[in-house]
């Protein structure tokens, strides 16, 4: 009975027009942010994604204010410009003052978001209900995705992956040993800017589906989950993309069954669940196998002690 229901939801991806685009859009987001999130996690910049996602909000407001349309490509462009600007401001604060990265991120995040709220409320006061569609970027609204949105997201994602494949070696070196990369003559500074820009694109894709607030989770959680299973960067990126895509599809399917359940939060809970499963079941670092290994280890040492004491008994006889 339950199986049948699950099957029908799953088949819905192929038959139901809306669900197909919702699932496809969420999957694109999950795959892109999963792959690129690996770099933010490994570079210890996890919360950078949080700051630039929040920083994107005023960009959406400005794009709407000046262009006057809700054309998703224009809004995404505005979002990307501000997200990028926010990222650069954060880097500038940490490099020119004694303020540490965490506070710099907090400053960018809250101030840009505040500005975004000011703009949205201004649009509301001048334009009446027309602003309603912009609210959806706060928590994302995958359910509102239409074919043209999904095509745009797909193109952006393809751009990200092309850059990732072309610059894979360079990104790898800047991530793990940037001073070594510099000594080899790689333009580390430009590579960092390029990598930040690609992450900005991933964040902008995410604004449609999970929204500003929960975007950080889509960057970190798949990468952190993949990290539990492998220590190889290439495998980690592939696995992380799979986890991200899977959570996008599962999340959008679950949210389509329940009335009024927003897609973003459900996707986030799904990916966190995948992370939890990885913590427990990963073969090398997981809690389950570590427990089994420890049990075995103590069993072997018990056995060893037993054999030694048996030998002692044989050699010296019973006393």
């Amino acid at each position: 009975m339950i199986l049948e229901e699950i099957l029908s939801i799953f088949l819905g991806i192929f038959t139901d027009y809306t669900l197909r685009y919702v699932a496809l859009g969420s999957a694109i987001l999950g795959i892109t942010s999963g792959a690129l999130g690996c770099f933010t996690v490994l570079r210890k910049q996890s919360l950078f994604g949080d700051a630039i996602a929040h920083a994107a909000l005023p960009g959406i407001g400005f794009a709407y204010l000046f262009a006057g349309t809700k054309d998703s490509l224009l809004l995404m462009l505005g979002a990307a410009i501000f997200a990028w600007f926010g990222g650069m401001i954060t880097l500038a604060i940490t490099s020119t003052t004694r303020i540490k990265q965490d506070a710099a991120l907090g400053i960018t995040l809250s101030v840009f978001f505040g500005l975004g709220i000011v703009l949205l409320s201004y649009l509301q006061s001048i334009g009446g209900a027309s602003q309603g569609g912009l609210d959806r970027f706060l928590f994302g609204q995958a359910a509102a995705l239409i074919e043209s949105d999904v095509i745009n997201l797909g193109i952006l994602s393809a751009v990200c992956f092309t850059i990732l494949i072309l610059f894979y070696k360079e990104f790898k070196i800047t991530t793990f040993d940037s001073s070594f990369g510099q000594s080899l003559g790689f333009p580390i500074k430009y590579l960092n800017v390029l990598l930040t820009s690609v992450i900005v694109v991933a964040v902008v894709i995410g604004l449609h589906t999970v929204g500003v607030v929960l975007m950080v989770s889509m960057l970190i959680a798949p990468a952190a989950a993949a990290r539990q299973w492998t220590s190889n960067l290439k495998n980690m990126i592939i696995l992380s993309a799979i986890f991200g895509g899977l959570s996008g599809i599962i999340g959008s399917m679950i949210s389509s069954t329940a009335e009024g359940m927003s897609t973003g939060p459900v996707i986030v809970i799904t990916i966190t669940a995948i992370l939890g499963i990885s913590f427990v079941f990963s073969p090398k670092q997981g809690y389950l196998f570590r427990y089994i290994r420890n049990q075995r280890k103590s069993q072997t040492s018990l056995d060893n002690i037993k054999t030694i004491s048996d030998k002692e008994k044989e050699n010296h006889g019973n006393i």
Partner: protein, 366 residues
């Protein structure tokens, strides 16, 4: 007793600013600023569960629920990152969206909670005047003012009583440990105060403005002073100024009050960052170019001394060639050294060192 609603809103904002900006100083100094991001988001879950449990927005239940979820967030983050599986920032970035997502789903699933998810983010300080507290059916004034006022007293006494402990454990944890000042206990007490402040402030201004008031004024104050006591005073003052100016701007432009307050904190920070004495961008840039000028002055005088010693002549144009400077910069420097009477120009336009210049060169080589 009638107090105008403007005064109540400004009063609420000032109290939020003062509460957050004072505690925020310690968050910024202890590199835990993003903890306020995590806590201010995840209190939503606690508030929603509390509302479910008691069937209404009882202030005490809401605060208890929020504080508990704040403590839950901190414990989960520390558990994750102490397990060695994740770095601290990754742990924060995983725990709070997860708890927030559960909170959002609970809110949207239960229509009767009366929490608007968007107001969670940017608050509803506009409605502060309508939320009054009754004592035996006697209207004793705005609820937010009362709650925030009590919180302010708690925060001030926390900082005053534990000032020494907070100060030492912030700047030198091992000293605090060896002096028996219990830095771990101080850490958890501070986190409880952060959670309480976040919950109470969150109720009136929303998650994002809480973060803005926690981090931005304290960061600006950090750029202005080296003394903890001054930093506290400055942080609170900047927070209050932002609150008042933000309110005035919001009324003037008819936009979101909490959004415009957050924007003003950012503008004030930007001004301090650019124009601040000693640490501002401009004075930093001036210092750096002054230092560079001093170094170049030394180079020029030594260069002239060396060239004259080997019977070669130095002019402004040969200077820019051999030292690789632009014509303008060489001209500026050569004018400066003539003004200072380090060198004299002879009829052919070549430099000769004066006695003062010679003394200065000898100073360099010693």
């Amino acid at each position: 007793m009638e107090i105008s609603s403007d005064l109540i809103i400004i009063g609420t904002a000032i109290l939020v600013a003062a509460n957050c900006a004072s505690i925020g100083v310690f968050l910024v100094l202890r590199k835990m600023a993003m903890m306020s991001d995590a806590i201010s988001h995840s209190v939503l879950l606690g508030i929603v569960i509390a509302v479910f449990a008691v069937g209404g927005r009882e202030p005490v239940a809401v605060i208890v629920g929020g504080v508990l979820s704040g403590i839950l967030t901190i414990s989960l983050v520390e558990l994750l990152y102490r397990s060695g599986k994740l770095k601290q920032d990754s742990s924060i970035g995983i725990i709070f969206p997860f708890l927030f997502a559960i909170g959002v789903i609970l809110v949207t699933q239960a229509g009767n909670v009366h929490i608007d998810v968007q107001h969670v983010l940017y608050g509803s300080i506009e409605f502060a005047p309508f939320d009054t507290l009754y004592l035996d059916e006697l209207n004793i004034g705005s609820k937010s003012i009362w709650v925030l006022g009590i919180l302010a007293i708690a925060n001030v006494s926390f900082i005053v009583i534990l000032y020494k402990e907070l100060k030492i454990s912030t700047f030198d944890k091992s000293l605090a440990l060896s002096a028996g000042l219990m830095p771990l206990l101080v850490h958890y007490l501070l986190m409880i105060m952060v959670a309480t402040t976040a919950v109470v402030a969150f109720e009136s201004v929303g998650a994002i403005l809480v973060i803005a008031f926690f981090i931005v004024p304290a960061s600006a104050a950090f750029l202005l002073t080296d003394r903890l006591s001054r930093m506290l005073v400055l942080s609170v003052s900047l927070g209050i100024i932002s609150a008042v100016m933000g309110y005035l701007f919001a009324i003037f432009a008819d936009v979101s009050i909490s959004g415009s307050m957050a924007t003003i904190t950012g503008i004030i920070f930007g001004l301090v960052w650019i124009f601040g004495p000693n640490r501002g961008l401009i004075s930093r840039w001036r210092r750096i170019s002054k230092q560079r000028f001093e170094v170049d002055l030394g180079i020029v005088l030594t260069h002239i001394h060396k060239e004259l010693g080997s019977d070669r002549q130095v002019s402004t144009s040969s200077m820019s060639n051999s030292l690789g400077w632009t014509k303008e910069y060489s001209k500026k420097l050569s004018e400066f050294i003539q003004e200072q009477k380090f060198v004299e120009k002879n009829a052919q336009g070549n430099f000769a060192l004066t006695d003062i210049g010679l003394k200065k060169v000898e100073n360099y080589s010693n």
